[in-house]
Symmetry: D2
Subunit: 394 residues, 4 copies
């Protein structure tokens, strides 16, 4: 809950750099807003665009000192690592194909990393990052931002506490409609790179939103998929990557599930929905109305849990800023990751253990699982929906 | 809409017999109520139970003449066929394994048939009924009752009119929780036969509710599945048939879909939900709130169509009894099938064409498709989810 | 719940007559369908229209014997009272101004009465009917049909059991849009008489739907209004009766409330909604989704009670035909009144006490309260919203 | 929409001071977060508590320079006005009774004011502030924060554009349950002052949330109430101010309405809901799901407008940060007021006209109307619900 100390600067804000996110970008501005929300970060450097002029202009827009508006991430990593007041953490908000090289550049110089998803475009790169993070002992946070919603954390806590009994069935979906028409042909920047295998990797809809759904199911259930069978579709003529994803899931210990992701389903905006059923109870959560969680025990009327309301546990409470009935949204959920990462970074620097709840942020290992999911789904679909191993040894 | 003529006995009620539906049965009473609702049928004979005493008592309960409370369907078919005032149509509401023999008995004597679903327990029996119906020229209605909801018919009409453009994706599910525990061990009659392969056939959840979902998708889209890949689960220890069904669908002409049916999902009652997406629009309908239909054109705000409300077509109008905002439910939707079948039967007897809308009732061919669906899903699952042909030549 | 005995004709159906409800009428057909639903009534006589030809034709439509299709209610009352097989109960479904005379005609001949609401157009007539019913010892049921919904009865039972604690606040509303334009000028029959003071009485929206809302609040809370302050509006130019009703309510024992009824609120169909708040819990119910009841204890997550689902009491159970998740609607709720009245009538004739639950049908005294409500609201509004006594001594 | 320029520091952040909002306060932290969200303000001074030690500690928490953590607002106003780097704007987040004196202190020294609601505790004080603001030419924003929601602004724009036709009926409510029990006796700080006439003024629930509802109706309809009739309740024994508010409203030009505010309605969190009906359409909005707006034209299916979605106008677009389907909430809506006030302040200082949309923030005149509403409702209730003039000449 927000009180006078929630935005207390018990220490100065962390110095943040950003790669990507220049003029015209979307997700970079979201990262900046979320970093700013709780007063825990100060943006001081950026390699905001691969275009030199845009990099400079974008830096000026954001009040960066001209010498810290870099022309490339390599230059930035080198220069910032040398400054006594250099950045302590970098946010990587570029297209997928560059995440690996950028993350390595900063990790190798001892700078903590916040990275957008999917983490890399190949499993090899993903595993390399896992090693790099482990070697370095640095903080690495992957912004599967939906895990920051208070009621998603509540759901995870309830499953972990056994309130649903052993899990049986998991249904997860992420449904959009913005690529129903061939938006990429209109010069739409976001659409352009997301359907380009060079920049997005082997998965279109799969990587863009399918991974969010996959990660959400993992996060809430604490389970990992053992094997999957996928049927990828490309419904818009001439599109180069999948825009509809149907996957059957088999988890550890006999749990079964389904994942549907689509970007061609008219009437859906960001329909990320999770349903989990165990032997004694079930729960449902929907991203578009994130402040409620439906929980039903066998033989009892369903309950509507509310963010900030009765019967919630510590995980949700810690992720909550304002009282129940005053909705929090996407930005607050996303900002919870930034707040948690600030705690992780401060703890690492102070050589103390972080608050345990701050460790809920998806990790480099979760990133590797997500990349493996993409690879396995592409492989399964290429084999006409054969079951493919989705495990990754990390 | 109900007006003074909607229950007009322009001719006398049709004489109805029933097989099954004695004391303690559920669906038989529903059939009777629905037959009675519009005043188009009069129950005059029954083979209500295979137990002689219960057959007699049940007949008395319902005011049947003692000599028309038969001890077996065979006796009833023979006797009624001889009476000048014999039944004109029979409703079959027994467990699945007996449908074929009973239907044949009445068809072979020239009596129209209303049959519960799934139609038979084997594809061979199903095809045999197709032939029998065609040979006889009789009316055969299969009570996939959800097709009787006005807004389901509206949805069908809109798809057929091209209001969604060419269809791309179909998501359908039917989710319950009543078999989350091992109810069949408690003496629960409905649960008992549904999980018994002898009486239910090869599909448990698959036949009980999966077929409803499958039929609903067919009905609304006008499409048939070409092949499917299924993953059947039995989550309750010792249960003999599936209680959770995950199916990938490939329709004609590249349409893809998913079907989920479950009877072990706590917090779900009769969650039959259909979502259909085309190139230009999408629609959603949910059985638990059947009086609304969500329709979204690309680039326009979604609309909430309401039974009896603005912008509905003739199919919904004909299936509607009372004004918008006064909810109609399961029984009215079910009764619409009975009303339509009354029209089909009267038309057949009068050697005239029936009202075209009355032909929306699922047919013996639809029944064959449903039985093939069960067989194909069982086969696919036995082959670890291999794609199996779901077509049936009828 | 429906089982083989729910439609058991343990005795023959009751012989029913109807006044009003001829061709082109709406509510008469609803009454007939509801009477027919449970097999407890058989329509055998009618004075279906004040127009002789329409009365004859309507009788033929419904299969009445020609000599029992009467030209007037007076003729019908006289003739049926003399027949050994005369009607046992009459349903009065005419415009409001004729209810009193018709009801008296049948009561005075010993025939039980089912009467549409509002009961009369004057308090004097209402009190006269109270006396006539008491004198005669006959059954009199007033079709405030919304009281027949299972979850409305559940709500009443919960309030009576103290599950909400002492009641504090009652909010009730009934909102429609069908009279937003001047429909009465288009020849619309239903609109025509409802806005005509000669036939509808002093209240337009007030009598048509305001009384339903008023009765519903009474029914659920078990409380009666002591005084009210009303602000009646006529928004459509030239309309002769109110089409929007704002009322402040003061109940017995300090409970306060608000009632809003409107027929000029675009986007509302039959938005009858009740919210009741006590010291320890609150509940909400909406007619358009009648199978759910929201119940919230202080300091606990709200629960969604479901018709047929867990935690319901005997009142709801008795009013329920089919399992949870298969929606029942307006007609089933309405038919519950007919089923209860059948029990009342059979009990009266058998000189036994009826099933207590069958006594939940609104009574002649409730009718008098409803008529007094109309009169008090009209008076208050005429006095610029002064508080007016709403009590009636019955 | 958020893009690289939305958080562009085209000029430096405005220097912000705060009165109130020290440790343990709620709304002060919300104001700070909202001020910070878009990078347009920097908190540099505060009189954060009337307790000296808490003022110091709170200042340190927030990183204020020790000499700018003042012991009183008077001291702060005097000192900051003299500094060359003094605050440019002050946020007043104290209990109601101190707003007037504090606002005057800063206005009189040429400092722009952001003030919490209700503006003052007497109409006289409110009118005095109106004069002070006009005399000074300064910016004064009243944080009726719900007006910052994009779809509230959309609703206002649609009404103003005539999309509903002439307005007829307005229904507004703000319903909570947090004061169902006597929370003020438990040492709860927020509850304590809100039910204390010394600090809250003459209205309890009336001032705390009733004014929000009242303002919201005004904001969306562009209409003002002419007269009102109120029935105030105090349901919790021993409570000194109203906790339930029932009001009938008569607007200019014949529009009628109802306002309900309650803090004793179990199961309600922050149920602020507005419904507006005109001759040709109606709309509904609910604060707990603020990203949707239901809009229904007569004779057309209702539409669900979505923040960021199709068919929205410029007012909503300007108030929107992220795409449709990613919910924005209370904080973003509140922050829109801060963003608009930043524009107003920058425009005033630059002697240019502000962006017209930035003028949507409730003004000192709106504050006066709100205070008059409280006074009129208290007076009406004291006169047993007599109609009282609610107009204020400003």
């Amino acid at each position: 809950m927000v009180d006078a100390t929630s935005d207390a600067r018990t220490t100065r804000p962390l110095r943040l750099g950003m790669v990507g996110g220049g003029r015209g970008a979307f997700i970079g501005a979201v990262h900046r807003l979320c970093a700013r929300m709780d007063g825990q970060f100060e943006l001081v450097a950026g390699a905001l665009s691969s275009d030199a002029q845009r990099a400079r202009d974008s830096g000026a827009d954001l009040g960066l000192a001209p010498d810290r508006a870099y022309m490339s991430f390599a230059q930035m990593a080198a220069a910032e690592a040398k400054r006594p007041d250099g950045i302590e953490v970098v946010s990587i908000v570029t297209p997928n194909d560059s995440h690996h090289a950028i993350a390595r550049a900063f990790l190798d110089r001892g700078i903590d990393v916040i990275c957008d998803k999917p983490m890399t475009t190949t499993v090899e790169d993903a595993l390399d990052l896992v090693q790099a993070v482990r070697r370095s002992g640095l903080v690495f946070g992957l912004t599967h931002n939906y895990t920051g919603y208070p009621l998603v954390r509540q759901a995870r806590e309830m499953v972990a506490a056994g309130e649903l009994g052993p899990i049986r069935v998991v249904q997860v979906e992420y449904v959009q409609d913005w690529l129903t028409t061939k938006l990429e042909d209109t010069g739409h920047k976001q659409a352009g790179w997301r359907v380009d295998p060079q920049r997005a990797g082997a998965g279109g809809c799969l990587g863009d939103i399918g991974t969010h759904a996959y990660n959400l199911a993992d996060f809430v259930t604490g389970l990992h998929v053992r094997e999957l069978a996928a049927d990828l579709g490309r419904f818009v003529e001439g599109r180069r990557l999948d825009d509809n994803v149907h996957v059957l899931l088999r988890y550890e210990s006999g749990v079964r599930g389904m994942l549907w992701a689509s970007q061609v389903a008219p009437g859906n905006e960001n329909g990320l929905r999770l349903r989990v059923y165990g032997e004694t109870a079930g729960l449902e959560w929907s991203q578009e109305h994130p402040n409620q969680l439906r929980f039903a025990l066998v033989g009892r009327p369903p309950q509507i849990l509310s963010r900030g309301g009765p019967s919630l546990g510590p995980a949700a409470a810690r992720a909550t800023r304002i009282p129940s009935g005053h909705p929090e949204g996407y930005l607050e959920g996303f900002a919870n990751l930034y707040r948690d990462l600030a705690e992780q970074i401060r703890a690492r620097r102070a050589k103390r253990a972080p608050d345990g709840q701050a460790l809920l942020v998806p990790t480099v290992e979760d990133g590797a699982r997500g990349v493996k999911f993409i690879a396995a789904a592409v492989e399964s679909s290429a084999q006409n929906g054969a079951w493919v191993d989705a495990r990754v040894t990390v």
